[in-house]
Symmetry: C2
Subunit: 407 residues, 2 copies
């Protein structure tokens, strides 16, 4: 009786679920928790940088004040805390994006901003232009909307604007937007030049599409001068954010802590209104208490925290680059990031990084993310992502040395 009464679930699921698969990063995060593993896998902030006592004081301050505490613990508006939005608007203005709090929506980390943008723009079968490789989490965020992808190529390419259009058209699709991580990209660590950013704006204009600029690592520049954000360059050309085609996703996760889950989107007002409607339907609002704490942290220690993080991660990057130089075999090449958390390693063509990973963990006690995961379309098997952010400084060189024995 019981068996006959059981629901057959398989036909119940929406067809969008076919495109959603478990992430390798996620499984690796579990392995990375084992203390005996040196993990170069997740792009995870070093908890040594969390300003625990300052964060504790911020919660205490807010929850000691009866008026603030009621605000912190109640439902709040979907747009996010007005004070935090004002701080972010000023912060964006300092980067050349003249805007108001009405141009800002608070999200649960920038991941949620990507999910909302996917919902707003992608109908099944639409094409998004993304780098190959690109941020895996963006591909996951977009997946429920069943997009197709074309490889965005801006430098050393003979691809024309119309080639993107005709490639999509041949598949019965339309190019809907372009997504980029311009600063110290996840996974490559590379930064788009100003020229590439302007090329991207030209391409977007030609295709009549918006651009998603995802820049959670922007503040973590170790060397050289910042490159103007694509959104700022767009505003330089068209005069106001209300005419701009760029939506900028920012985050406090890599600067202060990812545990409070506070990120934002900056865009023209009517886009923020639409994204806010999506936010409301998704989870009503982000926790007010965490937003108030983040505002306090941003107001009091943003610059200090950024400078600490830069000094801390620069050292780790330097140690990893030195170790790669010392231990990696001939034929291996890697990116030299000027900031952020990632180095992209390309090995000789016959090496399959996905196949080697279990051995790396079991024999060497070292984890990384195989490059495969970061490609929307077909990929090369001989690449991998290394993050230097989490492991202890003194573990980095031994970890790279062990890993190199496998290649």
């Amino acid at each position: 009786m019981c068996v006959q009464r059981k629901l057959n679930w398989d036909p119940c699921f929406a067809n969008r679920m076919a495109g959603m698969q478990a992430s390798e990063i996620r499984e690796l995060l579990k392995v990375a928790e084992r203390p005996d593993v040196i993990s170069f896998a997740g792009g995870i902030p070093d908890p040594a940088l969390f300003a625990q006592s300052h964060i504790r004081q911020a919660y205490d301050k807010i929850l000691s004040d009866p008026v603030l505490a009621r605000k912190a613990l109640q439902y709040s508006v979907s747009e996010g805390d007005a004070g935090l939005r004002a701080w972010i608007a000023t912060h964006m203005a300092s980067k050349g994006v003249d805007c108001t709090p009405d141009n800002i929506l608070i999200t649960n980390g920038s991941q949620q901003a990507l999910e909302f943008i996917g919902k707003l723009f992608i109908s099944p079968g639409d094409t998004a232009l993304v780098n190959a490789p690109t941020y895996l989490g963006a591909l996951q965020a977009f997946a429920p909307n069943q997009p197709m992808y074309d490889d965005l190529q801006l430098e050393n390419t003979n691809r024309t604007i119309s080639s993107y259009h005709s490639t999509a058209k041949a598949l019965g699709s339309h190019v809907r937007f372009s997504y980029v991580v311009p600063d110290f990209a996840n996974p490559t660590g590379e930064t788009m030049s100003k020229e590439a950013r302007i090329k991207l704006l030209d391409l977007a204009r030609g295709l009549n599409i918006p651009i998603v600029e995802d820049s959670p690592y922007y503040a973590l520049r170790f060397d050289g001068a910042p490159v103007r954000s694509i959104q700022a360059l767009d505003i330089d050309q068209c005069g106001t954010i209300e005419h701009a085609r760029v939506m900028y996703c920012g985050s406090f996760s890599k600067i202060f802590t990812p545990g409070l889950r506070v990120g934002w989107v900056c865009a023209r007002k009517d886009i923020i209104t639409r994204l806010c409607l999506i936010k409301q339907a998704s989870d009503l609002n982000s926790p007010a208490i965490n937003q108030l704490v983040m505002l306090h942290l941003a107001q009091t220690t943003y610059d200090t925290q950024v400078n600490n993080a830069i000094a801390h991660y620069r050292k780790k990057r330097d140690v990893m680059l030195e170790a790669l130089e010392k231990y990696m075999p001939k034929g291996a090449v890697w990116s030299r990031p000027k900031g952020g958390m990632f180095i992209w390693l390309t090995l000789p063509k016959d090496i399959d990084t996905t196949a080697i990973l279990p051995k790396a963990i079991a024999q060497c006690g070292v984890a990384y993310v195989p490059g495969d995961a970061f490609f929307a379309n077909k990929s090369a098997k001989n690449m991998l992502r290394l993050s230097y952010s989490l492991p202890a400084l003194e573990k980095i060189a031994p970890g790279i040395a062990k890993l190199a024995t496998l290649f």
Copy 2:
């Protein structure tokens, strides 16, 4: 030049956005913030019940402990904190739902659980069975997936199981699931009888569909004995949650505070695995710090807090029921909730509650939610939802008296 360069955004949006509209509740929440308005609108907990000092101590305790603090401030697993999931599993077991932490996913309030369930089950054009009226937030959560709706009728009806199937089929659709708020429903305040719950299980079995049981108010029962949850009744019949067709959505928002945004889904493991994948793509994880605080609160003061809330809201309900009796004109009828936060008021047929609302706010300084908002299909205009949870006890009777002058 600038004008020509502007993006024409209108053709850029996904067609799912057509079904997403701004909520009246949302606009009313803004009005309700004005201190001169007596708001019976939002179903908002009374901040007098927030255990501010206990919550402050919980944050302080976690952030004073170096190991806990690092966990609290770091990225965490998408499923949610293991300790909190274990507490919830035990809590569910006490209500007749024998389950393990693997049957629990933590979400940003139960609103996010509804959004994920919509994503998992609804393809565009699918039919969901919902009460008329039903929770507005569920309709909003499902909207991006472009469902159709049929009115779920369980009592005083001659609708047959096959009539739901044939109604959907005539529209080229399939019935995909049924959604109910069985305890002290939003918006009606009504509770499904055990008989109705068993009828619903029979219906779901006949249609081969799952059931979404959304029960954020369950613990807030003022009178009478609890009715066994639909999920527990389902397990009574089929023996194990792994064969059950019910997904249960719970929340701490109405018991402790909505500001931490902690809710959950309880369901068979493979559904939790799928929902977890959706969670990961949506916002990676809910804030670990808030989950650890909620665990501490649940472990130390769940029963006390529930008892306080019951005593507090029972008084408010009683005052509102008395005031309705005293002031409402002949021909008005209302529900008599045994718990929760809502009373549903039906007025004589010629009264349009949407049209009257601006006058109610401007002339009487009283806010409510017009009934219209809670119907998936066509609605009657002469209904409205009153919430007694937020306004001060002494404001309730005067507010109802003023409101009654309009009818």
